[in-house]
Amino acid sequence: MAKETNFLTEFPTLPVELIRAFKKTTDASYKAFSREYGDYIESFFNPLLKFLVFWEKLLVSTPWPVIIGIVCAFAFYGTRSYKIVIGIIISFFFVGYMGMWGDMMESMGFIIVATIMAIAFGIPLGIWMAKSNRAQAIITPILDFMQTLPPFVYLIPVVMLLGIGKIPGLISVIVYAIPPMIRLTNLGIREVDHEILEAADSFGATPWQKLTQVQFPLALPTIFAGVNQTIMMALAMVIIASMIGVKGLGQEVLRAITNQYFTLGMLNGLAIVILAIVFDRISQAYGKRIQKHRSGDAI
């Protein structure tokens, strides 16, 4: 009698020893794998590290007025709005004045590299997915999995393989931020009007001509929405990535959490928000500009 109540209230499990053995062997074999190939993989990612360091150094060593000037020029070309430019100047001055300029530049370099990598891998994958239904069937569940897995969890294998540092941080940020890039590239290309594709076919366009002349340009607004999403997700991941050694604003936030420095946390959080808004406004503005032909106004 007592046994049966136990059966219903306590979920039947594998024997504890078996579970322990399972965890042990999996971890051990993964560790063995990373011990065996870790160096090799690390050297494989070396160019990426150099690329990242180059950007960080570039941003940190460039005089701050030049950086502000460049960002404002980008913003103005995209938005044609003085309000946004003035907003950027004020908020960047605030960040700098509060002593967070260097950290912000490091984070900015990190985000730029992560976004470039996400675009470089995401767009070809998205195109492949749009061209092949089988590719879509395989990639979609992987993306679903990547997007629902808590970001902390996939820090673990990356850290086991590559240790703590910039590269594992960057890889986990890219992995976290790439799904919208792939998805929206796929969506944008699949959404292209069937009749327009038929027209291209009727003129004898090759698949490559169709992609470059019709599908990709018409998908660009959607692809840009993907770039915007990717940047936002990369920014969100900056704090988590700081747990495995990524420097910048995230690391300060982490320090604030562990030491209960409320003001430090708030200030660095605010700097991340400012960075997010600047990136968001600029990338959205460029997304809108490439849609200018869609409006009925005379140009």
Partner: protein, 344 residues
Amino acid sequence: MLSNKIEIKNLYKIFGPNPSSLIEKVNNGVGKDELLEEYRHVLGLNKINLNIADHSLQVIMGLSGSGKSTLIRHINRLIEPTSGEMIVDGQDVLRLSQKELLEFRKNKTAMVFQKFALLPHKTVLENVSFGLFIKQVDQGEAEKKSMHWIDRVGLLGYEHRYPQQLSGGMQQRVGLARALANDPDILLMDEAFSALDPLIRKDMQDILLELQLELKKTVVFITHDLDEALKLGDSIAILKDGSMDQEGKAVDILLDPKTEYVKKFVEDVNRSRVLKAKNIMQDSSQISKELLAGQTMKVKSEDVIEKFIDKVVIEKPNLLEVTDKNGLSLGYLTSERLSQILRK
């Protein structure tokens, strides 16, 4: 007799997972509804045979779902048939390799679409030269050719606009110029004017007829509008449920509809506006001597009935003499026959 530019032979198209197994059934008389109900396949085209003469304007007519758009897409093989032959200039388009097919599309055909299908991110000039770009024609030459056609369709001054900034009629002019810039032998027009307002539509029909007079392309024109078909078509083919219902000269279809379906179609046509004197004139041997000896009223062979009917009512001649533009007699028309034709 003109030679045939396009010969369509026993063309079948069945949509579904296993179409070729069902051709036999369709041949044995399984209809469109039954095929859908019992075999879950859609009958697109059922044994189509059609010859299209070189330099002629062939209209293919039918209601939506009749298979007319499917048929025109077989000519440049945007749709693969289930079986049959599509012979253009003596060559079966359906046997071309993928590479040959691209060459065929680049050089032999060009298509104009119902919803224009222009590239929204390219200007009018870039749209018109799209076919030439695909053919990798030198850019300067492509631009020169494109500007010529932009001029011909009356869009000079709009070449740097985007399609969205133009009205529907203007957009379709771009579509027409884009097709013509490629200098194809065959112009495929899929309900090209159906999306336009009636007035604009009439303009476009006139532009097409005017251009055709000069260019003498082989034009395949799809429409669901009989008035348009009668106005444009040298010959008309009427499709119903994927089968050919009747095919022939516009006048023959109007005066001698072979099936109930075609009869219903032509019932409401204003004959006096469509039929020309030359279409309905009789030979002098069919006219009695007394009538021939009496007074006649002269009408021009190219005039539609509407043009001379008022004079007939006032002058009440017993006999009309049909003459060509030089005044030479071509034939006669009794008032009985005229009233018979107008009475239907």
